[in-house]
Amino acid sequence: MAQEAHGEGSALVFHPLDQFIVKPLFGDGPVMWYTPTNVTLWMAIAVLGIVALFVYGTRGRAIIPTRAQSVAEVFYGFVYKMIEDVTGHDGVKYFPYIMTLFLFILFSNYFGLLPMAFTPTSHIAVTAILGFGVFIAVTLLGFVKNGPAFLGLFWMKDAPAVLRPVIAIIEVISYFVRPVSHSIRLAGNIMAGHAVIKVFAGFAAIAAIAPVSIAAIVAIYGLEVLVAFIQAYVFTILTCVYLKDALHPHH
């Protein structure tokens, strides 16, 4: 698709998907599983960002926080309260795991918005690991905590007896679709936004529509700034909802 738009002597050159290419950082060799790539680089930058905010920013341990520390505290309180509200008080012991997911997605999304950046969360391989990781962990946790009673999640006791098997089938299907929607929602949102910005950037090559194109890029960029946070939030709150199902399978 990108291939066809390219060339043909046209002034318009679209490579909206080239920004997602994984490249080795050093040399041109094949990408082996251990090769340091731009994925490694941008994930490392996300880690450094998290360390800068949450370790360096809170080094004072001040009662009256500095600006960086109060930002870290806001994120801490935001996720902590989300878990308490959605999952209940027994979900709090999974706080570090959920915080890890939230911060990784948030920082990857925001660093991915820098020009020339690579966004790990725009790759389904990455979000699928996150989504299926949550799915498998939550399912195992549900069986460990509740035993076979976890299957009560699919059996609606307050539904009419005739409908219960039908509802159970639908519930099971929806349960197994969860990780797919969970991961594609994140990757799709991030990838679409980045690709749209690139398409508008391609139009900027024509002088007549360049102002429109640049205005559109600014508008979409503003939207993406929102989406970057909202997707991190949505992924986290859904994780909390799934965790609640595992801890309290009875509706």
Partner: protein, 193 residues
């Protein structure tokens, strides 16, 4: 066309080893299809994702979250302590105000008592002074009366003497024999009568 390129790249990669990045990038450096679906890159992404999540989890669970949790708990403690202290101070202030009011009321009562006492004292002194003055006046009045009595008695005597003398002279002047004693008796009888 994309398929051809892919096949060519695959052949190329197989032939020359590390020359091309893989089957997902064309000869001109553009992506073939969606880079997200390129199987060559998936293991790399998964590996580095797992490493990254491990590092973030380690940093958060060992350093960042306990630290922030401790800071928040400490702040909460400080705030509740301060609120308790403020409450205590408020109670103290209320007690102090009550004590002040009591002291004020007591002072007012004392002042009233002192005023009453002073009034009573003054009244007593005044009464005493009045009594003394009355007594003195009575004494003076008695003395005056006595003197008046004396004076009037003296006047009566003088009148009697004058009458006797005048009577004796009259008797002499008329040619009688003035017996002093008889004249005195006659005058006295007249004066009484």
């Amino acid at each position: 066309m994309a398929t051809e390129t892919t096949a060519a790249d695959a052949a190329n990669g197989a032939a020359h080893g590390a020359v091309e990045a893989g089957t997902c990038v064309g000869a001109n450096g553009s992506a073939i299809g969606m880079p997200q679906l390129c199987a060559d890159w998936i293991p790399n992404q998964i590996f580095w994702l797992v490493v990254t999540l491990g590092v973030i989890f380690f940093v958060l669970s060992r350093i960042a979250l306990p630290r922030i949790g401790a800071v928040l708990a400490e702040r909460q403690g400080t705030i509740s302590n301060d609120i308790a202290t403020a409450e205590e101070l408020k109670l103290k202030a209320v007690a102090a105000e009550r004590a002040y009011d009591e002291a004020l009321a007591k002072a007012r009562a004392d002042a009233n008592k002192i005023v009453a006492e002073a009034k009573a004292d003054i009244q007593k002194e005044l009464d005493a002074a009045l009594a003394k003055a009355d007594a003195e006046i009575a004494v003076k009045a008695a003395e005056s009366e006595k003197r008046i009595a004396e004076i009037s008695a003296g006047a009566m005597e003088a009148v009697a003497q004058v009458a006797k003398d005048t009577a004796g002279e009259l008797v002499l002047a008329l040619g009688g024999n003035a017996d002093a004693t008889a004249v005195a008796e006659a005058v006295s009888a007249r004066l009484k009568g």
